[in-house]
C-alpha cells in the first residue's frame, strides 16, 4: 500500500544546510563584526574599523551575514571603489 493510498501525510523536514570550514569561519567573522558594531568597547571598535578597512574582496564572503548598518559603513568607506565599479559597469 502506498502512502497516498494510506492517506498518510508526510512531513517535509528541511535538512540542515551543510557548510564547509571557510563558510563557517566567514559566518563567525560576520557575527564578530556585527557584535563589534553594537559595542562601546574601544578594542571592539578598533576590530570593526580594521574589518571595514579590509579590501572588498576579503569582505565579500561575509556580506550576506552582515548587519545592514555594517553594510552601509562598508559602502561609505569603499564609496570610491563602488563609484568606479558603477562608472565602469
Amino acid at each position: 500500500m502506498t502512502n497516498a493510498e494510506n492517506n498518510t501525510c508526510l512531513e517535509i523536514v528541511p535538512e540542515e544546510e551543510a557548510m564547509n570550514k571557510e563558510d563557517v569561519l566567514n559566518f563567525l567573522i560576520a557575527i564578530g563584526v556585527n557584535a563589534c558594531n553594537r559595542s562601546y568597547d574601544a578594542s571592539h571598535k578598533e576590530m570593526k574599523d580594521n574589518f571595514l578597512a579590509m579590501s572588498l574582496k576579503e569582505i565579500a564572503p561575509t556580506w550576506e551575514h552582515l548587519d545592514d548598518n555594517v553594510k552601509i559603513s562598508i559602502i561609505t568607506i569603499h564609496a570610491d571603489e563602488f563609484k568606479a565599479w558603477v562608472n565602469n559597469g
Binding site: K21, L25, L28, A30, G32, A35, C36, M47, N50, M54
Partner: protein, 294 residues
C-alpha cells in the same frame, strides 16, 4: 585600507574569536543562526583549532555542554572534545578555584565532563566541595549532584563517610541541609540500621530528620525490618516527622503514634483512622449486598 596580509589575518582571527564568544554567550533564548553555528562548531570542532581560547572560560563552556545536550551530541565520541573533556574533568580536582566556581553553579560543565569520564574520582571532587558546603546552610545544586554521583559510584566509601562524619563523630557535624542529603542517600542505598535510624530521629534539625524518614518511607522495599526502622521515629520531637508518619505508616503501626503530643498530628491521625473505618464499612456493606444478591 589594510594591504598587509598579516594584518588582515590578525583582524580575521580576532573577529572569528569575537564571533565565537558571541555564539557561545549565555542567553535566555537562542535564535536560529546561533543554534546553527553552535551545531556546526560542536560537530566540526576542527573549526576551533587556533580559536579555542575564545571559548575556554566557564560561561562559554557551560553553553557548549548545554548545547551538546540539547542537540543530543555525545561530545565524548568526538576525538577533539574527548581530549578537552579529560582536561576539563581534571579541573574538578585542581586547586585553581574551578571547584569553587563549580560549587557556586558557574561551571556546571565540569560535572557534565566528569560524567563522561569513565572511573572519574567523585570522592575527590566531593571532598573538595564539602570544604565549601559543610558549614553552609544554603545547599548548592552542584553539591547535591556530586553527592549523588559519589553515593552511586562508591556506596561503601560513601557509607563510611556518613558514619564517620555525621553519625559517630564527636567533632562538629556538617550543616543541617548537608546532613539531610547525606541521610537521604544513606537510607536510599539500604544502609540504615536500627542504631542509625535512631541517630536520624534524634538529629538537631527537623528538616534533616524528615529527609531521612522520607527516603525510608519511599524505599521500604529495601529493608526487611522496615517496621522496626519506622518505629524508631515514632517518638520524634518534631511535628513534621510525626505528621509524615501519620500519612505513611501502615495501618497496623498507627497505634504507635496515638500518644503524640502534637495537636495537628492528632487531628490528622483522627481523620486517617476515620477514613480507614469508613473504607472498612463500605467494603463490609458491599460484601453484604453481594451476598444478599446471591
Amino acid at each position: 585600507m589594510i594591504k598587509n596580509k598579516t594584518n588582515v589575518k590578525e583582524t580575521k582571527d580576532a573577529l572569528i574569536s569575537r564571533g565565537l564568544e558571541r555564539v557561545f554567550i549565555n542567553r535566555y533564548t537562542l535564535d536560529d543562526v546561533t543554534k546553527k553555528m553552535r551545531k556546526m562548531v560542536l560537530f566540526h570542532p576542527e573549526i576551533l583549532t587556533g580559536y579555542f581560547k575564545a571559548i575556554d572560560n566557564h560561561n562559554a563552556l557551560n553553553e557548549v555542554f548545554k548545547s551538546a545536550n540539547e542537540f543530543e551530541i555525545d561530545l565524548s565520541e568526538i576525538p577533539f572534545w574527548k581530549k578537552k573533556i579529560n582536561s576539563i574533568a581534571d579541573l574538578a580536582t585542581s586547586t585553581d578555584g574551578s571547584v569553587s566556581e563549580l560549587w557556586y553553579g558557574n561551571a556546571d560543565y565540569i560535572i557534565s565532563a566528569a560524567n563522561m569520564v569513565q572511573d572519574f574520582d567523585w570522592k575527590k571532587l566531593f571532598d573538595n566541595m564539602s570544604i565549601l558546603q559543610d558549614n553552609n546552610n544554603y545547599l548548592r545544586t552542584s553539591y547535591k549532584t556530586v553527592a549523588k554521583r559519589y553515593s552511586e559510584t562508591n556506596p561503601l566509601l560513601f557509607k563510611s563517610h556518613v558514619e564517620n562524619n555525621i553519625f559517630f563523630t564527636k567533632d562538629r557535624k556538617p550543616a543541617y541541609p548537608v546532613r539531610g542529603i547525606m541521610y537521604s542517600h544513606y537510607v536510599g542505598l539500604g544502609f540504615l540500621t536500627k542504631k542509625t535510624a535512631r541517630k536520624i530521629r534524634s538529629d538537631g534539625s527537623e528538616d534533616s530528620s524528615l529527609s531521612g524518614l522520607k527516603t525510608l518511607t519511599d524505599n521500604l522495599d529495601l529493608y526487611s525490618n522496615s517496621d522496626e526502622l519506622l518505629l524508631q521515629f515514632t517518638d520524634s520531637k518534631y511535628e513534621g516527622v510525626v505528621l509524615h508518619l501519620v500519612d505513611t505508616l501502615p495501618e497496623y503501626l498507627l497505634a504507635s503514634i496515638m500518644g503524640t503530643p502534637f495537636y495537628w498530628a492528632k487531628r490528622k491521625l483522627e481523620s486517617r483512622l476515620e477514613a480507614i473505618e469508613k473504607a472498612r464499612e463500605a467494603a463490609k456493606n458491599l460484601l453484604n449486598e453481594s451476598e444478599s444478591e446471591v
